[in-house]
């Protein structure tokens, strides 16, 4: 259980060093992405102008306020509330976003499945869990919205955030086949028969 402070972008070696139950604090840059963005990028072959190589992707769509363009708000958007959405819906996009765009870290909630675990193993990636629903707190880790691409998909645009002390995040899936979600699911399934018996509801 090691704590890592990682400044993005990261290398393959840095992500392969992450193990389930380690903790991570991220610094510098983070990209916000979700369903609509990934569907546009991979089902409709839209290309982003951002370089995602070695970067961390946060499953999110923010609440923002329109403000005059300034040094602090170069996009004309100020962050209001930025949190994390359920990752599982984005399962089929993990491998393509790693292969085509070079992304290395996924930050989300609720975990992902076998395809993602295999992509992490093959390409060197990791999943870092945020506490879902704790968005007011998460917002305090974000300094500014630096840039936005594909904003016609708003709020499912591709967002570039400047971050500070983003975390601690828990490594819950790693490149060594480890998944805390799988472990907890396996344990729950093992307890099922006894629990059903207690309810008088055995099969």
């Amino acid at each position: 259980m090691t704590h890592h402070v990682l400044e993005t972008p990261v290398t393959e070696a840095q992500t392969r060093a992450l193990k389930v139950n380690d903790t991570v604090t991220l610094e510098k840059t983070l990209f916000g992405i979700r369903d609509g963005t990934l569907i546009a990028m991979f089902d409709r072959d839209r290309r982003t102008t951002f370089d995602l190589n070695g970067h961390a992707l946060l499953h999110t769509a923010p609440n923002v306020r329109k403000v005059p363009v300034s040094n602090e708000s170069p996009t004309g958007y100020a962050p209001l509330c930025i949190g994390t959405t359920t990752s599982q819906r984005m399962e089929r996009f993990t491998r393509p976003v790693m292969e085509r765009e070079g992304a290395r870290i996924i930050i989300g909630k609720g975990g992902m499945g076998d395809q993602t675990l295999a992509a992490f193993r093959d390409l060197g990636g990791a999943y870092l869990a945020v506490v879902g629903g704790a968005a007011a707190l998460e917002t305090t880790w974000i300094e500014a919205i630096e840039a936005v691409d594909m904003d016609d998909l708003h709020p499912e645009s591709l967002w570039r955030f400047r971050i500070k002390n983003f975390g601690p995040l828990l490594v819950t899936m790693d490149s060594h086949g480890g998944s805390l979600y799988d472990r907890v699911q396996g344990e729950a399934k093992a307890r099922r028969a006894k629990i059903l018996a207690g309810l008088g509801a055995s099969e």
């Binding site: 999110t60 769509a61 609440n63 959405t85 359920t86 879902g132 907890v184 729950a188 059903l196």
Partner: protein, 290 residues
């Protein structure tokens, strides 16, 4: 009492924003109870972060969660209230739209086929507006629920048959809680509908999921099942965020309705730990936020 649509519009706007920022007291107490009983180190740390988030949201006057949800308004009209129903529904829709534009809030609502977002939190059939009546004199209650999608995706209906019995109903609930794991943002309120038609059963599950903690099913058989299932789901070890621990759910809530001799329907609708709702009561004396 005459219900003024202008007042309803303002209230619909205010309630949406209040619901997103202030967690109801019963849910806060629910967190305290879970914290007392949680033994898993990760589970405890996650519960502490959730409680910290509630305080940060209050201090910074920010939204608790970035998901502004699907807006639902439950309107309950008492006795001796005069109102123009169409005007009231239009007023609620305008209030919802104004909250989104004026706060501003993320519009999380899209057309189901084109996926176009009108940036208003409104669309065909949205906000959901349910109107019901009760016996309170010159009283109108409006409840606003921004239903988060992570937990709403944890919705299931099974048209079981009488031969399956109540055993299959209980099995269905346990299996769906296992299947959902961390995706529905535990600790949750598991809403269970038993009986009715398919649509009523699903609606019962939603009523159960959004009922205050501390309330019990008015039907004794339903109350018995919710007590049993509340213990059982927390033996699964799924825990906060699906990362292990006792605190899988605050509580399982059950709502029941009579059903057909050939039917045995069960529905599950889950509410996440950010179990947001805001209520206001309008009387001739003014507006009282609950």
């Amino acid at each position: 009492m005459q219900l003024d649509p202008k007042e309803v519009e303002e209230l619909a706007k205010t309630l949406y924003i209040r619901a997103l920022k202030l967690l109801p007291p019963d849910i806060k107490r629910g967190f305290e109870r879970l914290q007392e009983r949680e033994t898993d180190a990760t589970g405890r740390a996650i519960l502490d972060t959730m409680v910290q988030n509630i305080a940060v949201a209050e201090r910074t006057r920010n939204l608790l969660c970035q998901d502004t949800g699907i807006p639902i308004y439950n309107v309950t009209i008492g006795r001796n209230v005069e109102f123009d129903g169409v005007a009231v529904k239009e007023a609620i829709r305008r209030g919802c739209e104004r909250a989104t534009k004026e706060h501003p809030l993320r519009s999380s609502v899209v057309h189901p086929v084109t996926r176009k977002n009108e940036q208003t939190s409104c669309g065909i059939g949205v906000p959901l507006i349910h109107v019901d009546f009760d016996g309170r004199e010159q009283t109108v209650e409006i409840e606003m629920i921004p239903k988060g999608s992570g937990s709403e995706n944890g919705s299931f209906l099974q048209m079981l048959i009488p031969a399956d019995g109540v055993k299959a109903v209980k099995r269905f609930v346990i299996d769906k809680v296992i299947e959902c794991g961390g995706r529905v943002c535990p600790p949750t309120i598991v809403g269970v509908g038993i009986g009715g038609t398919s649509d009523l059963c699903m609606h019962l599950a939603k009523l159960a999921a959004t009922r205050p903690l501390g309330s019990t099913c008015s039907d004794p058989e339903g109350a018995k099942i919710e007590a049993e299932l509340s213990e059982a789901v927390n033996e699964l070890g799924i825990g906060p965020q699906g990362l292990g621990g006792r605190s899988t759910s605050f509580r399982v809530h059950v709502e029941v309705a009579a059903t057909h001799i050939t039917m045995n329907p069960v529905a599950v609708n889950i509410q996440c730990h950010s179990a947001r709702r805001a209520n206001a009561v309008i009387t001739p004396g003014g507006i009282d936020f609950r």
